[in-house]
């Protein structure tokens, strides 16, 4: 999709055209849901937050200035919703690890074991680092896009990616033993 197409869809959605907004959701749901799934570790919760993010985006579409892409803007909204929900619930890192461990008992294939090890290692990462890793390594966002979404300096994003990758690779390596 060209940026012109997207601009037209955004303008139509601003006028209240449901079909245009549905097209925007269709085109960007994969990135937003993928990011939130990796960030939260809980797929149904991630999808719920992704829905909320798109609804919020539609309501606030007048505030979208086009300085970043629509995808980046919605991911920023989604991140804040997911982060605030986690903070409000006061979920501890221990609980997240419990979830990953409960999945581990079902692990059979090596690929599945890697997925479980990755989920556990992601849950151990600090919040910002996990979000950066989910965006850049999981969804292929550029460092500058991640910096814009998370409102972080570019250098911080780069160091989070490097350190996060090291920790995840280490966790996968440990899983072999």
């Amino acid at each position: 999709m060209t940026s012109n197409d997207e601009t037209r869809l955004i303008a139509a959605a601003r006028r209240g055209e449901t079909r245009a907004f549905a097209s925007l959701v269709e085109r960007h749901q994969q990135a937003v849901r993928g990011f939130l799934r990796r960030f939260s570790g809980d797929w149904s919760e991630a999808d719920d937050h992704a829905q909320e993010a798109f609804v919020t985006a539609w309501r606030r579409l007048d505030r979208f200035e086009g300085k970043s892409s629509f995808r980046t803007w919605v991911c920023g909204i989604a991140y804040r919703i997911a982060r605030d929900a986690r903070r409000a619930r006061g979920r501890s890192a221990a609980r997240e690890t419990d979830w990953a461990e409960s999945q581990a008992s079902m692990a059979t294939a090596p690929a599945h074991e890697d997925r479980i090890s990755l989920a556990a290692a992601m849950a151990e990462l600090p919040e910002q680092q996990r979000a950066v890793v989910a965006l850049c390594l999981g969804e292929g966002f550029s460092h500058s896009e991640a910096a814009s979404i998370l409102n972080l300096p570019l250098g911080t994003v780069k160091s989070h990616v490097t350190r996060g990758r090291e920790k995840l690779l280490e966790a996968l390596g440990d899983g072999d033993e």
Binding site: T18, Q30, V32, G34, R38, R115, L118, R165, L169
Partner: protein, 102 residues
């Protein structure tokens, strides 16, 4: 397989589907529910403001009428107010019916 490839594969396992009509529908339903809830709230607030305003006006009008020596004046004013209220209610009703049938 290298650790990097394993990492990429493990990440790919959490990917969302490229197309998902059910998700899109769920977003639209949720947006519609929220819009309805906001409209209902707005309507309730507007109704409460109008009702309290009308009640206050009625109290003031009754007080004023009690202080008037000539009943012809009060009857005339009350008739005019009743007529205005009837016209306002009819217009409001017509607007709502028009909006529902449009």
């Amino acid at each position: 397989m290298s650790d990097q490839s394993r990492l990429e594969r493990a990440f790919a396992a959490s990917a969302a589907p490229a197309r998902d009509a059910r998700f899109v529908l769920a977003v639209l339903e949720r947006a519609e529910r929220e819009r309805f809830r906001r409209a209902a709230l707005h309507s309730a607030v507007r109704g409460a403001v109008l009702t309290s305003g009308a009640a206050a006006a009625l109290v003031m009008l009754t007080g004023w009428a009690a202080a008037q020596p000539a009943p012809v004046i009060t009857e005339g004013v009350f008739s005019a107010v009743a007529l205005l209220a009837a016209v306002g209610a009819a217009r409001l009703f017509a607007a709502r019916v028009g909006a529902r049938t449009a």
